[in-house]
């Protein structure tokens, strides 16, 4: 039982006792309840962060092999290197060709060396764009799996223009004349995640998170206390429920009780169901309509008021 659940129970007991005693402590109780509710939100948000980063959590290739047939990985950006932190390629989804682009984390130390813990360099984004353009050329839908703590903040990444690479993808993906579906399967970390997730439909796995900054980063900057990552996670509103409420995503894909890693097959099938349903719909739309809707949706995001003075 979590701390907040036991607290809630205790409060209920307190209420009953107070009622029985005829003492009016309703103000105090209300204050208590709201504090517990906030603590519970924090707990839930952090639990999702932990699940999103769980070492056993399925990574992109775990889903790709389960959802698609005949996945053929394609390599390289045609400029500088192949970046294993982003994988891409072709496969069939129930017989329909699709292009897949995905952040890929490593499970072993060795694999993480190769995949740079899923943090892409500019080459990764440029490979993604190359494959996306190839998909567009052949009117092939694109499915992206997002799972990265962010783009790599390294020397080489800056030297080779990681900012330019992400910016270019945002612009180009907004215009691709082919359907794009993005699934945030774990960590959706800032611009590094956005760089492969501008699309027609965005989904999140139930325990995935999607955020402009890591809870740790936010805590150390906004709360001036790096240890308050849990509070930051709740403040930032980064869970799938938050993003659905904000209408940033189109839906939440439920995970098995305990998280995706407890049943990767079931999670994969849940993703597949959504993909098959949506692709059928999206592939029937004329590309020009697709692009117009995609951009209308993007351009509406934000909250402001505009009162004449």
């Amino acid at each position: 039982m979590s701390h907040t659940t036991s607290l809630t129970k205790k409060i209920e007991e307190l209420k009953k006792l107070a009622e029985a005693s005829g003492l009016d402590v309703s103000d105090e109780i209300a204050l208590l309840e709201s504090k517990v509710k906030a603590a519970s939100k924090t707990e839930m948000a952090w639990r999702r962060v932990e699940l999103a980063r769980h070492p056993d959590r399925p990574y992109a290739l775990d889903y790709i092999t389960r959802i698609f047939d005949n996945f053929i990985e394609l390599h390289g950006d045609r400029y500088f290197a192949d970046d294993a932190a982003i994988v891409g390629g072709l496969a069939f989804l129930n017989g329909q060709p699709v292009t897949i682009i995905a952040n890929q984390k490593g499970r072993t130390l060795k694999e993480n060396m190769k995949r740079n813990h899923g943090m892409a360099n500019p080459e990764g984004y440029r490979k993604a764009l190359r494959l996306a353009k190839e998909a567009e050329k052949f009117h092939r839908p694109i499915i992206t799996f997002v799972d990265t703590s962010g783009a790599y903040p390294g020397l080489g990444a800056e030297e080779r223009g990681i900012g330019e690479a992400i910016a270019r993808n945002l612009m180009e993906f907004s215009q691709l004349k082919t359907p794009i579906i993005s699934i945030i399967i774990g960590e959706g970390g800032s611009g590094g995640a956005l760089g492969i997730s501008v699309g027609d439909k965005i989904y999140m796995l139930e325990n995935a998170v999607y955020s402009v900054i890591s809870p740790e980063g936010c805590a150390s900057i906004l709360l001036r206390d790096a240890s308050r990552a849990k509070d930051a996670a709740a403040m930032l509103r980064i869970t799938s429920q938050d993003l659905l409420e904000f209408k940033i995503i189109n839906g939440i894909i439920q995970e098995p009780e305990g998280g995706a890693h407890t049943d990767p097959d079931a999670t994969a099938m849940a993703i597949k169901k959504v993909l098959v349903r949506d692709l059928q719909d999206l592939c029937n739309r004329p590309p020009a309509v697709l692009v117009r809707y995609r951009n209308q949706k993007i351009r509406k995001i934000g909250h402001w008021n505009e009162n004449e003075e």
Binding site: A151, Y152, P153, G154, L155, A157, E158, E159, R160, G161, I162, G163, E164, I166, A167, R168, L170, M171, E172, S174, Q175, S190, G191, L194, G195, V198, Y210, S211, V212, I213, C218, I221, L222, M235, L236, R237, I238, D242, L243, F246, I248, N295, I298, R299, I301, G302, H303, W304, N305, E306, N307, E308, E309
Partner: protein
């Protein structure tokens, strides 16, 4: 910048008036101090030509973050601006343009819903009215106080750049010190011609974040305008004195021959 502090580059002490007269640069070595938005507009736009639009946009608190409203009020008082970017139309050496100028004074030039919306509107206005768009950038990145909404402004502004590109209307950016984070990774890097001010810091990750990653000091000059020119991400480094005429020339150089023929 105070009047009697020596120039951070060459050490010479100049009085405020001579630095102002040199467009906030050091008269001795040309070091570029940061410049306020109003000063930039006054320098760039033909006198009296600047007409602000979308002046009244103000951020809401989309993720209900405690203290954000207060922070906005403080920023407004400090920067004497309502948000981190001012947008308007003007003429530059007689040529119509849309001009957006960011301010680092307003919450570090961070991009939230209002910056994203105003920049997007500027780009779309350029497309609609067929006026070249010029954006002066300076930013610490996304405004994390608006959570995911700030991140999405990167996609939004980039989509607006695409709209401008489809209209075949030119887009010029002048990168000022510092331009980092989500602004670098969106509209700042997507211009037809990218100009940078001398010495400006330009990058995605901030220097301290990179140093934290690589666990060593960054090389001298890393991420500066001159470095970015060498690395292929900046077209021209132009001093403040040159910028107005350069932009004016670029506008002329981007008139298509078809249009020229039709026009002439």
């Amino acid at each position: 910048m105070s009047t009697d502090t020596p120039c951070p580059s060459c050490g010479t002490v100049h009085d405020k008036a001579s630095i102002e007269a040199a467009l906030k640069t050091c008269p001795s070595c040309g070091y570029h101090y940061r410049m306020e938005v109003a000063e930039r507009i006054a320098y760039l736009a033909d006198q009296g030509s600047f007409v602000e639009f979308s002046a009244n946009l103000r951020s809401l608190n989309p993720i209900d973050l405690e203290g954000y409203e207060e922070k906005l009020s403080e920023a407004e008082a400090k920067a004497r601006m309502k948000e981190a970017v001012i947008t308007g139309t003007c003429t530059i050496e007689g040529k119509p343009a849309v001009l957006a100028v960011m301010s680092f004074n307003f919450m570090g030039g961070s991009m939230g819903s209002v910056v994203g919306e105003k920049v997007s509107r500027a780009l779309l206005k350029g497309a609609e009215e067929r006026k070249p768009v010029i954006i002066y950038t300076t930013s610490g990145g996304a405004r994390m106080q608006e959570g995911i909404f700030s991140l999405m402004q990167m996609a939004k502004t980039s989509s607006a750049v695409a709209e401008l590109a489809k209209a075949e209307v030119p887009y010029f950016v002048v990168l000022c010190d510092p331009t980092t984070g989500g602004v670098t990774a969106s509209f700042a890097m997507l211009a037809d011609v990218i100009i940078a001010e001398p010495g400006a810091l330009i990058g995605f990750a901030g220097p301290r974040v990179i140093e934290g990653t690589i666990r060593q000091k960054l090389p001298e000059g890393f991420q500066k305008a001159e470095f970015q020119l060498e690395k292929g991400f900046v077209d021209i480094i132009a001093s403040r004195q040159e910028q107005r005429h350069l932009l004016s020339l670029l506008i002329d150089l981007h008139r298509p021959y078809g249009a020229a023929k039709k026009g002439a």
